[in-house]
């Protein structure tokens, strides 16, 4: 390993020579300011380095220092509740050190090295351990017990357990492999571009409950699954991502703000600590890790932010948690790749994106999954990935959206027409799809209600019928519709307005449990069946529409979760009122 020197500077790309022995993706420090960089190409003796910080002021001839190891994420207690930039520098500490603006060349440890944690050992002297085995736990936050695992590549016998209260660098356990004694601390490192190992991948089994009605009922995602949210600007991608970060029932949330707005990250930062988890009542920050590399921060670090985030997610998955990763937005990530590729003068593919765009996207989404973790206890963990996509001009035929759709199983198509009508979440129910219905139907039939699938299909049928009828009305007017069709139109409107539409800013409406989702939709479908009965008995349509309990259906979304017993009463009201019309 040798240090080299800079021969050319072009924005975030630096060419250097003399770095003999340095490997692709090795971390280097560039120039007098010691900027973070990563070797992305080696051609003969010329090394191309992607620099994660602003390179203004860097000169040819300055030295490049090789570290001879790839860029690693630091993993250990203290991650939860943190906010990092794309290369895992802790933003709060950075602010204390260098002020409100991001200056370059700051080197800060991602984790707090001073803080002491209470280590509760779960192994005894002479226990045999293999990689992934849990040595002990640390209470990391009120929600998360952090499991200290045997790092990859270490097999052996526990020979020493020390230090009950320790910093993350202190040796807490010693393991004798027979040939060598390893000192294990609470902190380990992992190269961000390499997926962490699992012992087996399995088919996903449970829904990831998001509390968003249109998602959970019609286009559900599962723990270990993948979803994407493409939409033009202003259609509410970020609000959907925020809602999922807030309310989905994963154990851990990793939110990657990749090349997006600074004020949005500020919003998440200020809001999450205030919000309470619907199950435990603890602050949502107690289970969240944020990666914030806003659009104006260095573009190479933006490219790294996705890998940093998913590596942290994998680490928690290995502990046996279900992790949900929100990546907002993968398009900005792809653009960062495009920018670097352009500077490397690679042959461009579609719209200037590098030809390996598809394989990089696929590799990212493949890091999701429902798995059996390494370790002898065969615990299960999962990672779900929800990626936002920002197609230019809202045109879904562009490369990033298309390549994403080839790998993800759920598509939530955002529609700006719905957004203009302030119908939020603006997920278009005709174009969106989910390939996880079987899994969720099976789960819901047991855990929520046996007729879950039936009412879901009925409601979707009505909505599709409504779309067809609307086409028809455009040509021939509303007068020509039969009473049956009018009823379908009216009930579909109820589904849209009273079920699909959900106000993220209302304290009750923002989250709906699966039970309540089912109850609301069940009411509407019940009304449809009763109304049909009434129509058959020749009751005038206008009178069916005007029964007083309609008001209660419309307001049922605002019934608090602890008062769900009100639903059967509304059902009885509907029944009585319609029966009265018939008689």
């Amino acid at each position: 390993m040798k240090d080299g020197s800079i021969i050319k500077v072009s924005g975030p790309l630096i060419l250097a020579k003399g770095l003999k022995g340095t490997k692709i993706y090795d971390l280097v420090y560039v120039g007098n300011a010691k900027l973070f960089g990563e070797v992305v190409e080696i051609r003969g003796s010329i090394y191309s380095i992607q620099v994660y910080e602003e390179t203004e002021g860097t000169q040819p001839g300055e030295l490049v220092y090789s570290t001879n190891e790839p860029f690693m994420a630091e993993l250990g207690p203290g991650l939860i509740g943190s906010i990092f930039d794309g290369i895992q520098r802790p933003l709060p500490a950075l602010r204390r050190e260098s002020g409100d603006f991001m200056l370059k060349g700051s080197k800060l440890s991602p984790l707090d090295r001073e803080k002491k944690y209470d280590f509760c050992p779960l192994v005894k002297i002479d226990d045999k351990v293999i990689p992934g085995d849990i040595l002990g736990t640390v209470k990391e936050s009120n929600l998360i017990s952090h499991k200290i695992m045997v790092p990859f590549g270490i097999n052996g016998t526990v020979v020493e357990i020390s230090a009950v209260e320790a910093t993350i660098d202190t040796t807490i356990v010693k393991i004798d492999s027979g040939t060598e004694v390893f000192s294990i601390s609470m902190c380990q490192k992992w190269p961000i571009r390499q997926p962490r190992r699992v012992s087996k991948k399995m088919r996903p089994q449970e829904p990831l409950v998001t509390g968003q009605r249109v998602i959970d009922m019609f286009f559900p995602v599962v723990k270990g699954g993948t979803a994407c949210v493409p939409g033009p600007f202003g259609s509410g991608k970020t609000v959907v991502q925020h809602q999922l970060a807030k309310w989905s029932d994963a154990d851990i949330i990793v939110y990657i703000g990749c090349g997006e707005r600074g004020n949005e990250m500020a919003d998440v930062l200020l809001e999450l600590p205030e919000l309470k988890d619907p199950k435990s009542g603890e602050s949502l920050m107690e289970r969240t890790i944020l990666i914030a590399n806003t659009s104006n921060m260095p573009v190479a670090a933006r490219e790294a932010s996705i890998s940093t985030g998913i590596t942290i997610a994998e680490y928690y998955r290995d502990m046996g948690y279900s992790v949900a990763v929100m990546a907002d937005s993968t398009s900005r990530w792809a653009e960062a790749m495009r920018e670097m590729s352009g500077r490397l003068q690679e042959m461009p593919g579609d719209e200037g994106f590098p030809s390996y765009l598809g394989s990089r996207l696929a590799a990212f989404y493949e890091r999701s999954g429902n798995v059996i973790c390494i370790g002898s206890d065969k615990r299960k963990g999962s990672i779900s990935i929800i990626g936002a996509v920002s197609p230019p001009g809202g045109d879904l035929s562009e490369p990033v959206t298309q390549e994403t759709l080839r790998v993800v199983k759920v598509f939530w198509g955002l529609d700006d027409k719905l957004a203009y009508q302030r119908h939020f979440p603006a997920i278009n129910w005709i174009t969106s799809y989910s390939l996880y219905h079987d899994i969720v139907d099976e789960y819901a039939a047991i855990n929520v209600s046996p007729n879950w699938k039936e009412i879901r299909r009925k409601a979707m049928e009505l909505l599709k019928r409504e779309a067809d009828l609307e086409e028809l009305i455009r040509f021939v007017g509303v007068d020509t519709l039969s009473d049956n069709d009018r009823l379908i139109m009216e009930v579909s409107r109820m589904i849209r307005e009273d079920f699909l539409r959900q106000n993220a800013f209302d304290s009750i409406d923002t989250y709906t449990s699966l039970e309540k989702e089912h109850l609301i939709l069940d009411l509407i479908i019940y009304y449809f069946h009763k109304a049909n009965e009434a129509l058959k008995s020749n009751v005038e349509l206008g009178r069916i529409f005007q029964i007083p309990s309609r008001e209660n259906i419309a307001r049922s979304e605002l019934i608090p979760e602890d008062r769900l017993f009100q639903f059967p009463d509304i059902k009885i009201e509907i029944k009585n009122e319609i029966n009265e019309l018939i008689s």
Partner: protein, 444 residues
């Protein structure tokens, strides 16, 4: 321009180019290798030959000198004073590229700014620290609107200093003159800093002018505790200049010939809006851009929309119907409104009212479209009410004069007045208690 035989030159360094004639021009290093530097010349390369030209590397980036008395001054695109006043004695010199704000240091914008324009205050409220562009087209009155906002903008309960920083990017003399005379007429010039690059000035200056303006804005906001409104017109010219220079550097183009890094580059301008925890000042941006062929999916408005927190879209149809301001409220959006409105900020019913107005207007417009195809007779009686509502909404709520300054109360009451023409049961998006309080009540 390539420069040979160099030593110790850094990326991004500022250069002075001394021509044969003695004329001095400026440039910046955009690529540097061993003994060779690529220099971008601000004033253009006309008249430069490869002989007898000296290049001096100044060992610093592009900077601008700032001082508290910068307010009231006018600069050109090279950062030189052009108002004929005394020279500015800089307190400090700042690199115009600035540094990104640490996301953790940001404070969320939540203070309502009253612009006096109903279509904005009522429907798409602006808050301090927001970046809200105006998407316009050629021939639309975006300049009048921006000037009106600059004149009328006001924040409740605050007596902190207020300043306007205006960057004219490649606009015509007439437009620039309009702004200057508007500012002079209302006395706003006293609290404004102007940067002027006219259509005839070198296009490369257009790349640095918004950055100079924002550097001054950051100084005023975060060091002098002022609330700064930055108006940049026209950002389309900025993007064109970027495209021109990218093409000259033979870079691989992204969409429609614009460089692939257009998004990143624009974000380094727009993201300089905001507030910082523990600081009193703020930067609010109103960039103006003209959409080529009024096409919102063109890369310039498209990428802008992905960075900014909403957009105000002007509509040609409204303009020809003499509705001023011709703001098409349906596709317009303010992303930061939710925390800036409501009780204690504007009024408790604002959020509900806004949603209801949107819904009613969208429904009315929709019904109107159907009526165009199959005739008005096919509309249901309710739909006709909504059609009437949407007409009145355009003519009374959106439309207001160039000098009309409505308070937010007035705008909200006007909204209720129009909604009162609709049946009560149709107002599903408003909470019953607000219907009780405001529906069909004469509010003065």
């Amino acid at each position: 321009m390539f420069v040979e035989d160099i030593n110790g030159v850094a990326y991004g360094e500022l250069t002075e180019i001394i021509l044969e004639s003695g004329e001095t021009r400026h440039g910046t290093v955009i690529e540097v290798g061993e003994g060779l530097a690529l220099v971008q010349v601000f004033e253009g390369t006309r008249g430069i030959s490869t002989e007898n030209v000296k290049v001096k590397f100044l060992a610093k980036g592009v900077e601008i000198g700032v001082a508290p008395d910068i307010v009231g001054r006018i600069f050109n695109g090279s950062g030189e004073l052009i108002d004929g006043g005394p020279p500015l004695i800089p307190k400090k010199r700042l690199n115009i590229h600035g540094h990104p704000i640490n996301p953790y240091a940001r404070d969320y914008p939540d203070e309502f700014i009253q612009t006096g324009i109903s279509a904005i205050d009522g429907m798409n409220p602006l808050v301090r620290g927001q970046k809200l562009p105006i998407f316009s087209g050629s021939g639309l009155p975006h300049s009048a609107l921006a000037a009106q906002i600059a004149r009328q903008a006001k924040v409740f309960k605050s007596n902190d200093g207020f300043a306007v920083v205006f960057a004219a990017i490649g606009i015509t003399f007439d437009e620039a003159d309009y702004f200057i005379s508007e500012f002079k007429k209302t006395g706003a010039i006293e609290r404004a800093v102007l940067f002027i690059n006219l259509a005839s000035d070198p296009s490369i200056e257009r790349l640095s002018i918004p950055r100079m303006a924002l550097t001054v804005a950051e100084y005023l906001a975060f060091e002098l505790d002022m609330h700064v409104l930055v108006i940049m017109s026209d950002m389309s010219n900025y993007c064109e200049a970027l495209k021109e220079i990218s093409a000259a550097r033979k870079e691989v183009p992204g969409r429609r010939g614009y460089p692939g890094y257009l998004y990143t580059d624009l974000s380094t301008i727009y993201e300089r809006a905001g507030r910082i925890k523990g600081k009193r000042g703020s930067i609010t941006q109103i960039p103006i851009l003209t959409m080529p062929e009024d096409d919102k999916t063109h890369p310039i408005p498209d990428l802008t929309g992905y960075i900014t927190e909403g957009q105000i879209i002007l509509d040609r149809g409204f303009n020809s119907a003499e509705i001023y301001p011709p703001i098409d409220v349906l596709p317009s959006l303010s992303r930061l409104k939710d925390k800036g409105i409501g009780e204690g900020k504007t009024r408790e019913d604002h959020a509900d009212l806004l949603n209801q107005l949107y819904y009613a207007y969208a429904r009315g417009k929709n019904a109107k479209e159907i009526a165009v195809v199959i005739g008005e007779s096919a509309l249901s009686p309710e739909d006709i009410l909504f059609v009437n509502f949407s007409d009145r909404f355009e003519n009374e709520f959106i439309c207001q004069g160039r000098d009309v300054n409505r308070t937010v109360e007035d705008s909200l009451n006007l909204g209720w007045k129009l909604l009162s023409e609709l049946p009560k049961k149709e107002l599903k998006r408003v909470r019953p208690e607000y219907i009780e309080k405001y529906y069909q009540k004469v509010i003065k």
